[in-house]
């Protein structure tokens, strides 16, 4: 999964709690980040993901808990002694210093001799493809360049842990996509343990070794991107990652019934009476002719067909009124051949894609 390079440190978070009045920003969070791993904290705003990152950086003092970098307990260490690199959401580049001044700042604090400092600054700038930009003023840089300078400044002193707080959120989509890949490559090259915060699920899926989905100050699931998408452990994760529609599932003896169909599934079925079937739009398909044995079949009425360029999105309602979405690729002429609103369609979901989840118990 990851290449552990020398100098990367594992992070161990144990029972960290932080309350603001009655609100649990962090509710007894425990988490292990492996040495050299790229781990993303993913969650909606107010979920506690940024609070957790600020606890790692030392800017937020938790009520209790333990935080270890390697074997060192650092929970009471002030931020300036933690030796972790950080990229801030708004970059926080010092406007009164040049690019080289900014990147050299951590080295100056560490009393690195001038010639070595100049060399390391240039090397860090080259790493982020900004070689020769040292004399520029910060306000002369574009958003993407500022982002790179902030990154260079965070890695120049070779910290063994790198924290990033939504570093790409201020960039336009094209640049963001490119930077995602670049950050990924950079991580592979430098190998430092990286904790990355984002609310963008696609970004998280693209870049991470593992993702911790955070909500209500708790970790809802910690898994690889693929596990998270294919086998969400709870309804929140299923809902937050990717698009999905849910159908209520009824237990009928040993059988499970949803939308008038007795379900077949190769997945584990959770305990409890209150269950839901999760359906990803791209895993559902329109059936023509006889379905294979291991396909769950639903009959629905088309309500709307949406053209989205590379794919179509077809909404169809079951008799119960529940709407399901189906996504499919568009090839030449295939869009015109799709069923029209009002027509009856049969939708298929393979047993391997049939994911049944326990409904959430209402959270306080």
């Amino acid at each position: 999964m990851t290449k552990t390079k020398q100098g990367a440190l594992p992070i161990s978070v144990r029972n960290v709690t932080k309350t603001y009045g009655p609100v649990h920003a962090l509710d007894d969070v425990s988490l292990d980040v492996q040495s050299g791993e790229f781990l993303t904290l993913l969650g909606p705003s107010g979920s506690g993901k940024t609070t957790l990152l600020m606890v790692l950086a030392g800017f937020t003092r938790p009520d209790q808990g333990s935080l270890k970098f390697g074997t060192d307990e650092v929970i009471r260490k002030p931020p300036h002694l933690r030796d972790v690199g950080m990229v801030f959401q708004n970059y926080a580049l010092f406007p009164h210093m040049t690019v080289a001044g900014n990147v050299g700042y951590p080295l100056r604090l560490r009393r690195v001799p001038k010639p070595e400092m100049a060399e390391r600054v240039e090397r860090a700038l080259e790493t982020v493809q900004l070689g020769g930009y040292g004399e520029r003023r910060i306000d002369q840089l574009s958003g993407g360049q500022k982002q790179r300078v902030a990154l260079a400044r965070a890695i120049v002193f070779e910290p063994r842990i790198l924290l990033m707080d939504e570093p790409l959120s201020a960039l336009d989509k094209k640049l963001r996509d490119r930077m995602q890949i670049e950050l990924r490559h950079l991580h592979e090259k430098l190998g430092m343990t990286t904790v990355y915060v984002t609310h963008d699920q696609r970004e998280a899926l693209t870049m991470s070794d593992r993702i911790a989905v955070v909500n209500f100050g708790r970790i809802m699931q910690l898994a690889t991107p693929q596990q998270l998408y294919d086998q969400p452990e709870n309804r929140f994760v299923a809902d937050f990652i990717g698009d999905s529609t849910f159908l209520d599932v009824r237990r009928d003896g040993d059988a499970l019934v949803a939308g008038g169909t007795t379900l077949q599934t190769t997945r584990p079925v959770p305990e409890g009476q209150s269950l839901s079937l999760m359906m990803r739009p791209e895993r559902l398909h329109l059936l023509t002719g006889t379905a294979a044995d291991d396909v769950n079949e639903f009959t629905a009425t088309v309500s709307e067909v949406v053209y989205q360029g590379e794919s179509f999105l077809l909404y169809a309602a079951l008799d119960s009124g529940t709407e399901m979405a189906v996504r499919g690729a568009i090839r030449s002429g295939s869009f015109a051949a799709l069923p029209k609103p009002g027509e009856t369609v049969r939708l298929g979901l393979e047993s391997a894609d049939t994911v049944i989840l326990a409904d959430e118990e209402p959270h306080p």
């Binding site: 931020p79 010092f94 604090l109 002193f157």
Partner: protein
């Protein structure tokens, strides 16, 4: 008619008309500046070159060079102004820093207390200091009762009194722009500095202080320039021992009824002030200090 000059004449006329309108709208302001600034200053220059016999002469300026007392007055003016500015920085910068770190609601309250003296008459504040600082005033009485000193000491009608009064009056001019500059500093800069290994003191001196200096310089410059022409407070609290240019101007008019000499002093003070501002603008970006340029 070709496509290229379609509506060209009409658009040109619209452009001319718009400029005319803009000029018309700004003419009251231009007139105001002319009447209350350009004409009086021009008149001042003119009068300064009129001698006692009513003809053109350089005698008003010659006198300033010849008599030693004038040089002393200018030196006193600059010294008092510099000292006041320095004391204002010493008191005002920590105050502004303290306020900038407070939660907004409390900071606004502090701001009001800083501004409060602004809304009180200058003369009232100056005479209040006179009452407080005189030989049998509140300060001397309390200090003696507390055993700080035994005999009433002279804290007014000298340089001390002048400085106390002037610093009190000038302080808001320094605190306000400094506070504004400090509030504009993103807290993330300090977090970033800490994250890279800067101790709080180090982060302050390498990041916070440099970023707050434009406001501090703006305030200090304003205080200094205002001090150069200050009259009421040094006149009342200086007790005639601290003579600044403005006081000499007044005595030239009231005592000697020499408008020429007074005007010449005014011109020199004005020129010196402009020189100070010009030098300052060479070192600092003035537009940046007022928040205009960025």
């Amino acid at each position: 008619m070709t496509a290229t000059d379609m509506n060209a004449a009409g658009l040109r006329r619209d452009e001319r008309l718009e400029r005319l309108k803009l000029f018309g709208l700004s003419s009251p302001a231009i007139l105001l500046v002319l009447v209350i600034l350009v004409i009086p200053v021009g008149w001042l220059f003119y009068v300064s070159f009129i001698g006692a016999d009513g003809t053109f002469s350089m005698e008003n300026y010659e006198r300033m060079v010849k008599r030693k007392s004038y040089a002393r007055i200018f030196r006193t003016t600059f010294e008092v102004s510099l000292l006041t500015t320095a004391l204002c920085i010493l008191i005002g910068y920590p105050l502004a820093y303290f306020m900038s770190q407070l939660p907004n609601r409390i900071a606004n309250l502090c701001l009001i207390t800083v501004l409060l003296p602004f809304w009180t008459s200058l003369l009232v504040r100056t005479y209040a200091w006179l009452v407080l600082l005189q030989k049998k005033g509140l300060v001397n009485n309390w200090a003696i009762n507390l055993g700080l000193w035994d005999e009433p000491i002279k804290i007014v009608h000298n340089l001390n009194g002048t400085l106390i009064g002037m610093v009190h009056i000038m302080l808001p001019f320094l605190v306000l722009p400094t506070y504004g500059a400090m509030k504009a500093i993103d807290r993330d800069y300090l977090k970033a500095a800490a994250n890279m290994g800067a101790s709080p003191a180090r982060a302050f001196w390498t990041v916070f202080f440099p970023l707050s200096t434009p406001g501090l310089f703006a305030g200090a410059l304003m205080v200094f320039v205002l001090c150069l022409g200050f009259f009421v407070t040094p006149a009342v609290l200086g007790g005639g021992k601290v003579i600044m240019v403005s006081m000499k101007i007044v005595s030239n008019i009231e005592l000697f009824v020499n408008w020429g000499a007074a005007s010449a002093l005014g011109v020199v003070l004005l020129v010196l002030t402009v020189v100070v501002l010009w030098i300052a603008s060479r070192f600092l970006k003035l537009e940046q200090m007022t928040g205009g340029g960025h």
